[in-house]
């Protein structure tokens, strides 16, 4: 294996079986995975469909930065894979699938948690939910988004 990580931002449905297979490593005692799927309800609305928009080249770069930082946290972390799907998809399918292969489990848990938390904070991908009543909405969490980067919050906007 030349590279110890794999990143993909793709319109295709995620091949989870393939990712699980390539997560295996004879040096690793623990393989952890996270699958993010869109629930059928959000704030009481029934979600019928959803769509992700991605600034794909930047998303890939941001995920790469996160992964490099995670590898630096603990030498027991051996392999990381992160695939994010975008475009329209039905409720219940994986929008994101992450794997971490590590020597022991503590560093694996830490790495996987850090990976998903950081992706949700810093990777330029946006979710739009479509509801039963015909409405749709972009999700823009109000917090946790500007912790260290430039935005107008940092300035006096009066």
């Amino acid at each position: 294996m030349n590279k110890n990580y794999f990143i993909d931002i793709t319109r295709a449905s995620i091949d989870i079986e393939e990712l699980n297979k390539s997560a295996e490593d004879p040096e690793c005692g623990a393989v952890l995975s996270f699958s993010g799927t869109v629930r059928n309800h959000n704030f009481g609305h029934k979600v019928t469909k959803l769509s992700y928009e991605a600034y794909a080249p930047m998303a890939k770069k941001e995920i790469e930065k996160i992964i490099v930082e995670i590898f630096a946290m603990d030498p027991g972390i051996k392999k990381i894979q992160a695939v994010h799907r975008f475009g329209e998809m039905p409720v219940g399918e994986s929008s994101i699938y992450l794997t971490v292969s590590s020597k022991h489990r503590p560093e694996g848990f830490l790495a996987l948690r850090t990976l998903i938390d950081r992706i949700k904070q810093d990777v330029p991908i946006w979710k739009k939910e479509f509801y039963e009543d015909g409405e749709s909405e972009w999700l823009h969490p109000d917090e946790g988004c500007c912790h260290k980067h430039l935005c107008l919050k940092s300035y006096d906007m009066s």
């Binding site: 930047m58 994010h84 330029p124 991908i125 979710k127 999700l139 107008l152």
Partner: protein, 82 residues
Amino acid sequence: MKEYKVKLFAQLKDRAGQSSWSLKSEQVLRTSELLESFFAEFNDLEKLKAITRIAVNEEFCFEDKELTGDEEIALIPPVSGG
């Protein structure tokens, strides 16, 4: 006269009705000025104004900086991937 072209995504794109927005200026612009100008033009995007980030050449800015107009610039409203 320089034209600063800015990529838009998600709600910003929907609101502007197109995937990019541009600003012409005689002077050198700073990233914060570009943010200010965009949200002055679309002043109903109150909720996103303070918390939208700006990316230059596919990297978030950590500090305000001068732009030449040759960069790939994008406005990044709070993300909701995962």
